[in-house]
């Protein structure tokens, strides 16, 4: 096994592990970054969403071997000090309940706002299709729309 080199939140890392290891477990178990969560392992729930070269991906489906040279952004790197508009609105609008799925929701929402600064409800339905068992969806939607307004102004 040869080590695979890539960047996480701007920092170069090199991981020597089974090349089939999903990025989810690389982040959590090899790099000790536990902000990215395991929910289903089959790309259903979106709890493990990170950005890979700017695009949101379900990290349970990204084998280590495919990440060579990639730039990965995790929830720990979404902003410098918990100050992405989404992160702040999450507190302001009391969005999270248990919070376990929310890193994935935030990463999906942040990617949506980058791609579509004025997202419609349909855009949110399509791109932020994560599962939240607590049922935070109404507040997730409100926070995304409000963040979009903040980012535009």
């Amino acid at each position: 096994m040869a080590a695979v080199s890539f960047k996480v939140n701007g920092k170069p890392v090199s991981v020597d592990a089974d090349p089939s290891t999903p990025m989810l477990w690389v982040l959590r178990d090899h790099l000790g970054m536990t902000g990215t969560k395991y929910g289903c392992g089959v790309a259903q729930c979106g709890t493990c969403t990170v950005h890979m070269n700017g695009d949101p991906v379900r990290s349970c489906q990204v084998p280590l071997e495919s990440a060579s040279g990639a730039e990965i952004t995790t929830i720990e790197g979404l902003s410098a000090s918990n100050n992405h508009p989404l992160q702040q609105l999450w507190s302001e609008l009391n969005v999270a309940q248990c919070g376990y799925c929310q890193a994935g929701v935030l990463m999906a929402a942040a990617a949506l706002l980058k791609a579509k600064p004025t997202p419609t409800d349909d855009d949110i339905d399509t791109y932020v299709n994560n599962i939240c068992r607590c049922g935070t969806y109404p507040r997730v939607r409100d926070a995304i729309h409000k963040a979009a307004r903040q980012l535009r102004s």
Partner: protein, 758 residues
């Protein structure tokens, strides 16, 4: 506005995200929100030097930080925020200087139940608004405030009556001198009061019931810092992947560890054998019977990393002896057994009042129908897991428990250590809904870890393992028969219920219909338990989440037979019930949903009302009424336009958090009703992941979930809000579907029904 996705039985929408790149966002608008807070590791640690403990529940540090110890795990329902608010109200401290941590159950044991003695406090779980617990925090805070004032008075040598406490500052009114709480905390903590001060009357509250702070752990969540169970990292930690007998109660027949021992990272294969003797070193008086968390036959692979453990477990040859559970070949067989059991009076009489059988024969109109709700799993977002190290004289368990104290007793029984040697560290919890109360997850974690003593082991159940080894909401069925009187209301009511082992009758025999003094004068309720092997446990509103569907769907059928509008019918029924909250809730949703408005064919409104927590009494528990406004396309796709909800908890303390819990409860109720149902094949649970056990996504929920506050009676109680909303949602939607297309749905999940019409 976008359009809501329609739900049909053939097509559940599963879309994938693929968003193009863009510019990085980098707007600095401040750091973490300023508010009360908790640490990423929320469990209680020894106090730092200089921190003054006023009681085991409350400390104040030289930096003014007030630490509130909480004996309820926060599973996303805002419990710690509520307790922090309660303390802030009486302590007159700065909200931004309040910290919360989870109380240590080890200390609770060593200090003879300081966190768990008496009344509702014996429950390291459940609700924050339990009167005893709210009162306790008010008293603790009032006492600390008075001691701080006395300490300031002593420092300045002035009468205590001249001291004002506000925002963590003590002020001598006439001289204007000030001291921070932290400056006198040590002196204050040493003061013993002659008499405990009385907390101020509720009419003088300025924070409780007035402010609506967001959950204080949200800043930790949004930066990925909150330590959930699976996020625990210990030095030299290994990972275990676990597989339990696919048929509950089955046994491990054989496995071939040699086949995988050379796979990368594998450190060992461990067998969990429930028949091995467990010899508790002392008598264990656990909150729940320890048998509810009995170990299951299982096998675990331990490896350096979880992915290695999982791959090796998948490759491990394993044979099971399925045991008697395999007799249940199919879901249909189970359902038939449940329906068959309804054909005669059940062996257990749950409630008998008046003369229902005789009057039924005399009734001018009789309504009868049978209903069934299936096994359901909580599918908590965080799969079952835990981290444990067992040594000769100590066990440490880091666990996303819903009942920390229960987990401690389980760890003691499983290891044979005495309770003083058991240290359970309560982590953040990736949702629970009842799943993590009995503690079978804690049990299996300790059972694995004790076989590799001296090493911390993190045991992870895959999503498939978590679902198939759930402690499910039990299968339940009911046949209800009502004899209507001249006024169209039931004068006699007979309900036979049946269910898989562990099912609960809550709501069937102790609701406003059947209970003593209830609105129906003659009642017979019986039950019959099937000989099932499938393991069950509490699931958001146990029993109630089925009984509300049965009773409220049936009430609609009675209203139809009587020719009375279903909402009006319920108003007439509850006019006889001495709790005005029911009527208030009904009238609130009637007004707010524009009940009765003309709708085209294919659209309809349905209503339902239920109460969780009343235990047979008026002005108790929480009443929730809901109106669903739905549209069904000719192809049979269901579109829920709006859910209007009103509730009566008596009073509330945090309006926005209550709204959040109701919204979530509505969505939970929708999932339960539209989507959820486990299937059984040869004794095994069929579904293993979200592709087979679908959950509503953001585009699937009604665009309008309207939470109304006009149902509140202002009765003196603070009822709970987590469980109650799940009750009326399903029947309200089902009743709306009936009004839309004339099809009556008597079983869930609704997605299995063909709703097409012409």
């Amino acid at each position: 506005m976008g359009t809501q996705r329609k739900i049909s039985r053939r097509q559940f929408v599963v879309s994938t995200a693929a968003v193009g790149g863009g510019m990085a966002i980098g707007i600095a608008v401040g750091g973490d929100a300023l508010a009360a807070y908790a640490d990423r590791n929320p469990w209680q640690l020894p106090d730092k030097a200089g921190v003054a403990e006023f009681t085991p529940w409350l400390t104040i540090g030289p930096d003014d930080i007030v630490t509130v110890r909480v004996a309820n795990p926060d599973i996303g329902n805002g419990i710690i925020t509520k307790h922090a608010m309660t303390v802030t109200e009486e302590l007159e401290c700065d909200w931004n200087k309040v910290k919360v941590e989870f109380a240590s159950v080890n200390r609770d044991y060593l200090e003879k139940g300081i966190y768990s003695t008496g009344g509702p406090l014996s429950y390291f779980s459940g609700r924050s608004t339990a009167p005893g617990r709210q009162q306790l925090y008010l008293q603790v805070a009032a006492s600390a405030r008075e001691r701080l004032k006395l300490a300031a008075a002593q420092t300045w040598n002035v009468p205590v009556g001249e001291i004002e406490a506000k925002k963590s500052v003590l002020t001598h009114r006439s001289s204007g001198r000030t001291l921070r709480y932290g400056e006198v905390a040590s002196r204050a903590a040493a003061i013993k009061l002659d008499a405990e001060p009385k907390p101020k009357p509720e009419s003088e509250w300025t924070f409780l019931g007035k402010a609506s702070p967001a959950k204080i752990q949200i800043p930790l969540i949004t930066k990925g810092a909150a330590t959930f169970g699976m996020d625990v990292r210990q030095p030299n930690m290994l990972y275990a992947a676990l597989l339990q007998s696919p048929v509950h109660g089955g046994k491990l027949k054989s496995h071939d560890a040699d086949k995988i021992k050379n796979m990368p990272g594998v450190r060992g294969v461990i067998v969990v054998d429930p028949s091995e003797p467990r010899r508790p070193a002392q008598e264990l008086k656990s909150p729940f019977p320890l048998g509810l968390s009995a170990a299951q036959h299982g096998v675990a692979v331990i490896a350096d990393h979880y992915w290695q453990a999982k791959r090796a477990l998948d490759a491990l040859p394993v044979e099971w002896d399925d045991g008697p559970g395999a007799q249940w070949k199919s879901t249909e067989q189970l359902n038939k057994a449940a329906y068959d059991a309804l054909q005669k009076e059940g062996s257990k009489i749950e409630k008998s009042r008046g003369n229902a059988v005789e009057l039924m024969a005399k009734a001018s109109k009789v309504v009868e129908a049978s209903y069934l709700t299936p096994y359901c799993d909580h599918v908590t977002m965080e799969p079952m897991n835990g981290t444990c190290i067992v040594t000769g004289d100590r066990v440490d368990l880091w666990h996303p428990s819903q009942h920390t104290l229960q987990a401690m007793y389980i760890a003691a029984e499983e290891t044979g250590l005495t309770l003083d040697k058991v240290h359970v560290h309560q982590t953040w919890v990736g949702s629970a809904f009842g799943r993590r109360v009995y503690g079978d997850d804690a049990r299996m974690v300790v059972a694995v870890a004790k076989k590799m003593p001296g090493r911390p082991i993190q045991v992870i159940w895959s999503r498939e393992e978590s679902i198939r080894q759930g402690r499910f909401r039990a299968l339940m069925a009911a046949k209800i028969k009502a004899g209507l009187g001249p006024d169209g209301l039931p004068m006699a009511w007979i309900a036979y219920a049946s269910g898989g082992k562990g099912f609960s009758m809550r709501g069937m025999h102790d609701g406003a219909y059947a209970t003593d003094g209830g609105v129906i004068p003659n009642v017979l309720v019986t039950s019959e338990t099937l000989n099932t092997h499938i393991l069950t446990g509490p699931y958001r509103g146990p029993g109630y989440n089925s009984s509300a569907f049965f009773i409220e769907t049936f009430t609609d059928e009675c209203a139809l037979a009587a020719g009375i509008d279903p909402l009006e019918y319920r108003l007439r029924l509850y006019a006889k019930w001495p709790d005005e909250g029911y009527t208030k809730c009904l009238k609130e949703v009637q007004a707010k949903s524009s009940w009765g408005k003309a709708l085209p064919k294919g659209m309809g409104q349905g209503v339902a009302i239920s109460n969780w927590g009343m235990a047979g009494k008026p002005e108790a528990g929480t009443t929730v009424a809901a109106v669903a406004t739905v549209e069904v396309s000719k192809k049979g796709e269901l579109l829920i336009h709006a859910i209007d909800v009103a509730f009566d908890t008596g009073r509330i303390v945090n309006q926005d958090e209550v709204a959040a819990q109701v919204e979530g409860g509505v969505i939970y109720g929708l999932n339960m009703t539209l989507n959820e149902g486990l299937n059984v094949k040869d004794g095994r649970i069929v579904e293993g992941n979200y592709d087979e056990y679908p959950m509503l996504r953001i585009g699937d929920i009604p665009k309008k979930i309207n939470v109304h506050f006009g149902g509140l009676s202002n009765h003196g109680r603070f009822g709970e809000i987590g469980e109650p909303p799940v009750g009326p949602i399903g029947p309200a939607v089902g009743n709306a579907i009936f009004r839309a297309i004339g099809k009556r749905l008597r079983t869930t999940p609704f997605r299995e029904h063909d709703l097409s019409w012409s």
